[in-house]
């Protein structure tokens, strides 16, 4: 019983803190945010490891498939996010000139 309670608390607290953090991400970074979330959803891999080593014969195949799929998400998600974020560049050095708004 305390397990389910702890899990529900984690669920809610993570959702609240996550909500605050995610709402502050500018639209400039929404695509990398999403691909990063893809990587994060690969967290299923930890569940897959636990189930794989305890599962009986008939179940380990499914857990193995889950391991592979979850790791595609982890590796694919993080690497594609890295690639994207490396492309974002600010104006080099001549930032001083016309920073006044047009109005």
């Amino acid at each position: 019983m305390p397990n389910i309670l702890a899990m529900l608390i984690i669920l809610v607290v993570a959702a609240l803190l996550g909500y605050r953090a995610i709402s502050a991400v500018p639209s400039l970074l929404h695509t990398p945010l999403m691909s990063g979330m893809n990587a994060l959803s690969g967290i299923t891999v930890v569940g897959a490891v636990a189930v794989f080593v305890t599962a009986p014969e008939g179940a380990s195949g499914w857990a193995a498939a889950a391991l592979v799929l979850a790791m595609i998400n982890v590796a694919g998600g993080f690497w594609v996010t890295e690639r994207m974020l490396r492309m974002f560049k600010a104006k080099s050095s001549d930032i001083t000139e016309e920073e006044v708004p047009w109005q």
Binding site: P32, M37, G42, V53, V68, W79, E98
Partner: protein, 463 residues
């Protein structure tokens, strides 16, 4: 339990810090790296807590998945990011469903609790729905199948009945404590696969950003519920984060299109019959007189000191990003200041357009969101529209009962002159004629943007 709780709090905390670092493009890279480090810690913790059992096999499967993931991530083009994210959404959902399915087989016969059977049914169901929905989304985005929204009579009833049946079976399976899991869970999977298929089948291209965000959220919810089922704290916390992220983005996308999520999912289009008529009336009231022509273009472009470029998905379709960057350079060489007006739903997923422009080396501080850029159109000499239609259509504000009515638009029409580099004068995705095209200060240059935009660059250069 205490140790695994502490480990979970630590790892999920690192994920949250990683997301917080994504608030600025300068720190975002480190946020991503912190996230991957936390993921590595989570994996090591999983090995430790299972006593490094079967570690050889586990590492082989992890290696296979990692290799496939890296290959995919390294080879994908930026224009294909939406389908890549959609694919990963689907794989995440499938992975969660498979883990729980394996746990179900493992637990069967044992004295598992009601909570296990309830959450496992939910996790398998949401995972399956995410998977099939994402597969359809990938096929649509890739242009392989279902490019047009598919509709058939009774669609709504079938969709609702499918979801209702899936819910009943989930409850039934839990109530029977899985005593008939061998029949009920596969049936649930089939129903949810059908549900996800139907859900996405009806979605049109312009609604894709919303659906991808929603499926992103589902993949997180599936992981979180799977965590509840297999009692894994890290899985619950991280899944919850992903679920919330997807929901936040879904809401932002819905607001940017002034559509309710329900309307998107049910394919409801307000006043689809009256829109043509309305648009015709609009045009009739605005007589064309002394309109500018392409001959005026070189002068207008050369004299422009303040330029706002409005990029749309059409620019990406004709691979004109590089041409747009060259034009930007030509403008700047000519002493003009160039900014980009970014509509939240430009592209096929949240933030897609930013990535496409960053890819060709356009600085992100030139890219401005709808709210800050809109007042600046009135001060701009030229608004240059490249492959965008609905997001600059004044009909969104003027006409009622069209699919885009009430959608916040970029007020490109307020610029002194407007140059439109779109493929043709056909309406955008919404099917509503663009009333901007007929205004006097607007010059339209129809054709493939990868050909028309370089022509503008030449006009600028040939002084």
């Amino acid at each position: 339990m205490a140790v695994s709780l502490v480990a979970a709090v630590l790892i999920v905390g690192l994920f949250i810090v990683g997301i917080r670092l994504m608030q600025s493009p300068t720190s975002a890279l480190w946020g991503n790296r912190l996230g991957s480090t936390a993921m590595l810690l989570a994996l090591i913790w999983a090995f430790v807590s299972t006593g490094w059992a079967d570690i050889g096999f586990v590492l082989v499967y992890i290696g296979i998945g990692t290799a496939i993931g890296l290959l995919l991530a390294q080879s994908v083009k930026m224009i294909h990011m939406p389908q890549t994210v959609a694919l990963l959404n689907g794989l995440g959902g499938a992975a969660s469903a498979l883990v729980v399915w394996a746990a179900v087989i493992g637990y069967a016969g044992e004295d598992a609790a009601l909570i296990f059977w309830g959450t496992s049914g939910l996790a398998v169901g949401v995972g399956a729905l995410t998977f099939s929905g994402s597969v359809v989304a990938v096929l649509k985005l890739q242009g392989v199948a279902f490019r047009k929204p598919v509709q058939f009579p009774g669609y709504g009833h079938i969709f609702r009945a499918t979801l209702a049946a899936a819910a009943v079976i989930t409850v039934l399976n839990a109530a029977m404590l899985g005593s008939m899991y061998g029949v009920l869970v596969p049936l649930l999977v089939l129903l949810c696969l059908l549900g996800g298929f139907l859900m996405t089948l009806r979605i049109g291209g312009a609604d894709m950003p919303i659906v991808i965000s929603l499926l992103n959220s589902f993949s997180g919810i599936a992981a979180a519920v799977a965590g509840l089922a297999v009692e894994n704290f890290v899985l619950v916390g991280a899944g919850s984060l992903v679920g919330v992220a997807g929901l936040v983005l879904t809401r932002i996308m819905c607001q940017a299109m002034n559509r309710s999520l329900l309307a998107v999912l049910t394919g409801f289009t307000p006043g689809a019959h009256t829109q043509e008529q309305k648009a015709e009336q609009e045009i009739a009231t605005e007589p064309k007189s002394a309109a500018l022509s392409e001959a005026d273009l070189p002068g207008i472009l050369r004299e422009a000191k303040r330029v706002i470029i409005v990029p749309g998905y059409g620019m990406a379709v004709s691979h004109a990003q590089d041409a747009v960057r060259q034009l930007t350079n030509a403008f700047e060489k000519n002493g003009a200041e160039v900014k980009f007006a970014m509509h939240p739903v430009a592209g096929r997923m949240p933030g897609h357009m930013y990535v496409l422009l960053a890819e060709v080396g356009i600085d992100y501080d030139k890219l401005m969101d709808l709210k800050p850029i809109n007042p600046q159109f009135a001060h701009a000499d030229v608004a240059l529209i490249v492959g965008a239609c609905d997001v600059v259509n004044p009909a969104a504000n003027a006409a009622e009962d069209t699919p885009i009515s009430g959608m916040p638009i970029l007020n490109a029409g307020e610029a002194k002159n407007v140059v439109v580099c779109n493929l043709d004068e056909k309406p955008g995705y919404s099917g509503v004629d663009n009333t901007l095209y007929d205004q006097d200060h607007v010059i339209t240059v129809w054709g493939d943007a990868s050909e028309t935009v370089p022509r503008l660059t030449e006009m600028l250069a040939s002084t």
